[in-house]
């Protein structure tokens, strides 16, 4: 999908030329981002090299490949990879999806189960641990080829945290727990709130739109836009009897390393474990029981946070885990400065009672996904911003909301956390706004 509009390179003024793209002024309490960050092909190229090649990126969830030989294909950081559970070891292997012979994809189905992966081009065959097992006419090769070294290439680093599998193309990157920093506690909160063990629900949302990927980062953790952009959603909630008076008050928290979360009171129901009219009267008892379970296991305060509080979390640079009216896991990649490819899933407790699962699925669809009552309007907003950038005349986005106070959930501190990390990681590629 493309508007056919060439990315516009904003003409920076002389003042902008002296400033970094992220203009963070704690004294004046003003925070601005130069719009070339969203439009410049140079910035985009630098992001691929300095951010997407140098971060931990989400690959998938272990529950997607429960059995030996189970695999899923994934584009990660713009590269085709696949994740397979090794038949011998039971380990989660993540390989570059390319034959070590002459390049063709070796995994050509989106998902499935297989003991072997055969490149159809010349029939080189690999097992689920990546070992090269079959080469037709092997005796035609002289001694110079070491077939033991021609197994599938593993991605430089692969680690998982509580079932979330991440990969990095950077051999020197810090280990995953160090990288996740404060985000670990919030992943724990989501999973423990779901009873301790979670799975990805079958069915994937894969959609794209014409805006810069960082606008989706901002939007995914933006409390400020909810009331204005999603008016029709709130009207729908009111029409089915939801009490909105509690509002969405809460706070923004810097989780370190560019990760951030907003946590806030929930006007809508939460399958774990806040009843609301959408769920029906019959559900009250079950939801009360879930809530009591959480209190027993985690204590009253933590159970309250799990049940009543929403979390929109950004794991830098491109993973969103939003624990709202349902739990969605969303990752994205920019093939161009003004295009973003999104892939999103629903996360749910394993062995969830069918009645609870159905309520969770139903709750998800009220707001989320390409057919929901809210997500399409977000896409419209972000494309609208991108088109506004093309209009030119204005150089900077303002992201100062809530500076100088303890940031609340509809402030913009969580976005500033992202942008500061972005500026740091981009280094000299983003140190002069006027150079783009």
């Amino acid at each position: 999908m493309s508007t056919g509009v060439e990315p516009w390179v904003t003409q920076a003024t002389e003042v902008a030329a002296q400033l970094p793209i992220v203009d963070d002024d704690p004294v004046a309490q003003r925070f601005r981002v130069h719009r070339s960050a969203m439009t410049s092909p140079r910035i985009h190229r630098a992001e691929i090299e300095r951010i997407f090649a140098k971060s931990w990126l989400y690959v998938g969830h272990e529950s997607e490949i429960p059995n030996p030989g189970d695999f899923v294909r994934r584009p990660v950081g713009g590269r085709p990879l696949f994740m397979v559970r090794g038949v011998k070891t039971g380990n989660v292997n993540v390989f570059h999806n390319t034959c070590t012979h002459r390049g063709a994809l070796v995994c050509r189905q989106e998902s499935g189960n297989s003991k072997v992966f055969q490149c159809f081009y010349h029939a080189w065959t690999f097992d689920s641990e990546g070992q090269l097992k079959g080469v037709p006419g092997r005796d035609a090769y002289a001694g110079g080829v070491n077939f033991d070294e021609l197994g599938l290439k593993r991605v430089a680093r692969v680690e998982s945290y509580r079932g979330f599998v991440f990969a990095s193309f950077d051999t020197g990157i810090v280990d995953l727990p160090t990288y996740l920093a404060g985000a670990k506690d919030y992943i724990d909160l989501v999973i423990d709130g779901c009873g301790g063990s979670v799975e990805i629900v079958r069915g994937t949302n894969q959609y794209s739109f014409d805006a810069n990927w960082k606008l989706l980062v901002e939007n995914s953790v933006d409390g400020y836009h909810a009331e204005s952009t999603h008016d029709t959603y709130f009207k729908y909630l009111v029409s089915i009897g939801t009490d909105l008076r509690g509002g969405v008050s809460g706070r923004a928290i810097d989780l370190g390393n560019g990760h951030a979360v907003i946590e806030y009171s929930s006007p809508w129901g939460r399958p774990v474990a806040k009843w609301e009219p959408l769920f029906g009267e019959d559900a009250r008892t079950e939801i009360d029981r879930l809530r009591a379970d959480l209190v027993t296991r985690h204590g009253k305060d933590r159970a309250h946070t799990m049940a009543e509080v929403n979390r929109n979390m950004l794991i830098y640079p491109n993973l969103i885990i939003n624990d709202i009216m349902a739990v969605t896991v969303r990752t994205f990649y920019p093939p161009a400065p003004d295009v973003v490819d999104v892939t999103a899933w629903e996360l749910a407790p394993v062995n969830e009672l069918p009645s609870l699962r159905q309520r969770r699925l139903d709750s998800f669809l009220t707001f989320l996904g390409p057919g929901g009552f809210a997500t399409p309007d977000d896409l419209e907003a972000l494309e609208s911003c991108q088109q506004g950038f093309v209009s030119g005349g204005v150089e900077w986005n303002d992201i100062s909301r809530g500076m100088g106070r303890s940031p609340v959930a509809n402030d913009e501190e969580q976005m500033r956390v992202f942008w500061r990390r972005w500026q740091h990681q981009m280094g000299d590629a983003a140190d002069m706004a006027g150079a783009q």
Partner: protein
């Protein structure tokens, strides 16, 4: 199949086609309130995910799983000026073909058809392609929709962005 049965089938298919064409015309005209009147109050409107077209809303993630109340809310939303993705509205062209009626004699007809839904908005062209599955009830010489399901053939939504319109 006897000649009588074949004739019955042809007549029935023609009636169903007329009904589906009339439904498509209401959608293309954005007469959504009138469109909603075609549905029974226990009706469902479903769109499964592209990678799980056999998706069951009881256990799988769907793109859309509306009961009548949610469908009415969808119509109300699309009629408002605050459904930003669809204000102003897209121009759409719902095309229906390969209509097949299964179980002609049944009280509730099971119908499948192919569809192409073209969507034009702000210079952008999108095209949804797939298969409809309807359950239609006979009523006063016409039909009522008991279920409408739109299964997409596209492997993903990258080319269309969303499903903010009604398919």
């Amino acid at each position: 199949m006897t000649a009588v049965a074949a004739e019955q089938q042809a007549i029935c298919r023609q009636q169903v086609e007329d009904f589906l064409y009339a439904e498509a015309a209401l959608l293309d005209a954005w007469q959504l309130d009138d469109w909603l009147l075609l549905f029974d109050e226990d009706a469902k409107y479903e769109v499964p995910c592209n990678d799980a077209v056999d998706g069951d809303p009881v256990q799988d993630l769907m793109l859309i799983d509306d009961n009548y109340a949610r469908l009415a809310a969808r119509v109300e939303r699309l009629n408002s000026r605050r459904a930003h993705r669809e204000y102003p509205h897209s121009r759409t062209n719902h095309q229906v073909f390969n209509v097949r009626v299964h179980d002609v004699s049944a009280e509730e007809l099971s119908v499948t058809a192919s569809f192409t839904v073209w969507r034009f908005r702000a210079g952008r062209t999108s095209c949804y392609v797939g298969r409809y599955r309807y359950r239609l009830r006979r009523s006063d010489g016409g039909f009522r929709i008991a279920a409408k399901r739109a299964e997409l053939d596209m492997t993903d939504l990258r080319s269309v962005g969303d499903v903010a319109i009604i398919l």
